[in-house]
Amino acid sequence: MRVSTLSHIIILTHDVPSGKVSGKNAASTAGGGFSPVDAQALSSDTLTPAETPTTSNSLGLDIEANDVGYIATVQMGTPPRDFKVLMDSGSADLWVGAEKCQSVDGSSCVSSSLDSCSPPQLTHLH
């Protein structure tokens, strides 16, 4: 059964305890096992910034953790400010957190249980 947009499975294994990370930041090779740089990024949920793009009309894609997601920086509002957005070819909506999302408890956007929401038109359910 398909949900109204795509079933994304962004897996962040937050429960993984920090492992020992030894060795230099050398590129790994196939057959060598899980690389130290991946291990570090996974345990710390690191965002690894991209190099400057090599062509026009382009944005670098920062790497979330061990290749869990890919994030670009765009500007919104006046004055323009940087917002980081997960680039998603499997959905078609753009959103960022609302200001009032922040003010409810003074910290970052509150989590909620799944709201019962009635979108105006369900077009994608099978």
Binding site: S7, F34, L61, D67, A92
Partner: protein, 276 residues
């Protein structure tokens, strides 16, 4: 980072609610208009959303939101994506968006998204294939000609794959996941997930447009069960799930790191090429 009238003088709330449900959570919010700049290209008064309620998995410091670039027929907000808007505004010639997803372990950090075309420096033009989008709802979906492991055909015919940068793993129907993992020495099944040796050297290839795109074996070893044992047993980057039809796959980053990936709304086509 949050967006609203206090931080932006050009912010306009249309007061229309929206809700997007993803596989692992959902967001509720309001449809708004504000100035957007993407890769230096302006979209003044662009229509998009701000979320006032998000489920747990979106409460993160790694990103502030999501930019969907599938076709806008899929949009819950019922509005054009930035790619389509840029094309409509004439800022880019065609509603094309292209991706190079970088593998952290390669230490090149050269991931890139390009609006309006392809970055020729990222792929071998001799290997470019153009595929018809077989999805009718606005996802990007292509027919898989064949699936092989270390060159041996696994005889999984008639499969299609939704190509989704916003999904981490490669998700396939259970029977296919079992067939694939049978071809990976040391792999074992645990309900809908699989494990395999972190040191696997098996290369799985998906053939699109007559060309094989091989998945680097490192991408099959998604994460170790024991972080202190990186050469032990790893969670497989391929897991079982029902995406839609019985032959429908969801090819996320595990596959897409292994190809240059481009989509064209106007032509309704997908292009893949070997990365250089």
């Amino acid at each position: 980072m949050f967006l609203g009238p206090q931080s932006s003088s050009s912010f306009v709330d249309t007061q229309t609610p929206f809700n997007v449900t993803y596989g692992l959570g959902s967001v509720n919010g309001s449809i708004i208009k504000d100035d957007l700049v993407v890769a230096g290209l302006p979209l003044p008064g662009h229509t998009f959303g701000v979320a006032s309620k998000e489920t747990d998995n979106f409460v993160t410091n790694q990103f502030d939101g999501i930019m969907g670039v599938a076709q806008s027929s899929l949009s819950e907000q019922r509005t054009l994506t930035p790619v389509e808007s840029l094309a409509e505004a004439g800022s880019i010639k065609d509603a094309i968006v292209s991706f190079k997803l970088s593998r952290l372990a390669d230490q090149t950090n050269d991931g890139e998204v390009t609006f309006g075309g392809l970055d020729q420096s990222k792929f071998d033009p001799n290997t470019l294939v153009t595929l018809q989008n077989v999805n009718k709802e606005g996802f990007w979906e292509a027919a898989i000609d064949a699936v092989s492991a270390n060159g041996t055909n696994l005889n999984l015919a008639g499969r299609t794959a939704i190509l989704d940068t916003g999904t981490t793993l490669l998700i396939v129907p259970l029977a296919d996941a079992q067939a694939i993992h049978k071809a990976i020495p040391g792999a074992q099944q645990d309900k809908n997930t699989f494990v395999l040796p972190c040191t696997t050297t098996t290369s799985l290839a998906l053939k699109f447009g007559g060309r094989d795109f091989s998945i680097d074996p490192r991408d099959l070893a998604f994460a170790p069960l024991d972080p202190n044992n990186p050469t032990g047993t790893c969670v497989s980057g391929i897991s079982a799930g029902n995406v839609g039809g019985p032959n429908e796959w969801l090819a996320g980053d595990v596959f897409l790191k292994n190809a240059y990936f481009s989509t064209n709304v106007g032509a309704n086509t997908i292009q893949l090429a070997q990365l250089t």
